[in-house]
């Protein structure tokens, strides 16, 4: 099974990182994330104290919005091209495929966000301690965002206007991650990290099964 999943993982990762035909890929969500962090100081003014107090929340909102961007190319193109059918014929379960895809999606979107976070922390004048908490929060929270993204992408694959609907569905599901992620940056908010990790684990545990059931139901 691992032997069959490895080529699928490398393909998914290449496709999600570089995108098809050089379009899409991991760069777009990353630029979007940085653009939001850059816009915010323009909107609220250069008051460093205000920025430092609200900046962490902005980073989390930006991360959530960046997670929504690649939703429509996470699952839909492969269902459309018949790849999931071919994998099913080879006895590879949808659950395994989606678990692999969550991992590939996280590597192509969560990790770049963590690399870009110091830059946006600078734009929002967060101090080193806050940046450290943001990085830790992103490490714990982005796997959950990736899992929610893949679940929603599988649910909306094959629907008309699936892309717009996917964004609308993902936002409420990601609210707990946002609350605990941003909350962990408040004074004495370290407990938020544990709850953030718990939410992530729930999303990770549910994603392969919910998404797999959605893909099978979509065949009918």
């Amino acid at each position: 099974m691992i032997r069959k999943l490895w080529p699928i993982f490398t393909r998914d990762l290449a496709l999600l990182t570089r995108g098809a035909q050089g379009r899409g890929g991991a760069v777009l969500p990353l630029l979007f994330f940085l653009a939001v962090a850059m816009l915010f100081p323009f909107a609220v003014g250069p008051d460093a104290r205000l920025l430092a107090r609200t900046g962490a929340g902005v980073i989390w909102v930006a991360a959530l919005l960046a997670a929504i961007l690649p939703l429509d190319r996470l699952v839909e193109p492969d269902v459309e091209a018949g790849l999931f059918d071919q994998w099913a014929l080879r006895g590879i379960s949808e659950e395994a495929l989606l678990a692999v895809r969550v991992l590939a999606h996280w590597l192509s979107f969560g990790v770049p966000l963590m690399l870009a976070a110091p830059l946006s922390a600078g734009l929002l004048s967060l101090d080193a301690q806050q940046l450290w908490t943001v990085e830790l929060g992103l490490l714990l929270g982005t796997p959950g965002l990736a899992a929610i993204g893949v679940t929603i992408a599988a649910l909306t694959a094959g629907m008309r206007a699936g892309a717009a609907l996917g964004g609308l569905l993902a936002i409420p599901m990601a609210v707990p991650l946002l609350i605990f992620g941003a909350g962990s940056l408040q004074p004495d908010g370290e407990g938020g990290l544990a709850l953030l990790a718990a939410c992530s684990l729930v999303a990770l545990a549910v994603a392969p099964f919910a998404g797999g059931a959605a893909i099978r139901a979509g065949r009918e």
């Binding site: 032997r3 091209a81 059918d85 014929l89 065949r219």
Partner: protein
């Protein structure tokens, strides 16, 4: 080649509110070819998907032995990749001895899949099926879009596969020039 067989008993197929056909039984084993014939919309493609196990039949059951390879209207090759890489992806998963079937793709291996013509895409799908090493082929309209020469070549490849111990189910509205074909007319089972 590994032993293969497909037995479908008393299949009924429902799409939406309509029952397309019912009471259809078929069986094919090593060396056999079944041709599912009938006009558009009679349920040939649905039956192929039922036989593949991708669609639940409304009634009846399907038993399969041996690996299955499917070629339908979905190519299942990454459009942006050169044909050679797209086919190699499935070979890395299947790790099978490819069958010696020539679909005239040698000149096209460096062409991205999305630039292939209709007939070339069909040949690429057949090449993917032949390379999978699966003994049981399910082919949905395998000859659509092929010119006269490649229609003959494709049928020769299907014939060779059966002689080597494979089995093939073909859904096609076109007449086939294959010998010893078990033809099933879906019209006979229409509700």
């Amino acid at each position: 080649m590994q032993e293969c067989g497909l037995v479908a008993t008393d299949i009924a197929c429902r799409r939406g509110d309509r029952i397309l056909f019912r009471g259809l039984s078929l069986s094919v084993r090593s060396g056999g070819i079944v041709h599912l014939a009938g006009p558009n919309g009679i349920g040939k493609s649905s039956l192929i998907r039922i036989l593949a196990g991708l669609l639940r039949p409304y009634a009846g059951m399907v038993e399969r032995t041996g690996g299955i390879a499917l070629a339908d209207e979905r190519l299942a090759l990454d459009g942006h990749q050169p044909l050679a890489q797209a086919l190699a992806f499935w070979q890395r998963i299947d790790r099978a001895e490819p069958e010696q079937a020539d679909f005239g793709l040698a000149d096209l291996l460096d062409v991205p899949v999305r630039y292939l013509s209709t007939g070339q895409r069909k040949r690429a799908a057949l090449a993917r099926v032949a390379a999978s090493g699966a003994p049981l082929w399910l082919l949905d309209e395998p000859l659509n879009g092929l010119d006269t020469y490649w229609t003959e070549q494709a049928q020769a490849a299907i014939d060779a596969h059966c002689r080597a111990g494979g089995a093939v189910v073909i859904a096609s509205h076109q007449p086939l020039a294959l010998e010893a074909v078990d033809e099933i007319k879906l019209l006979d089972f229409q509700v």
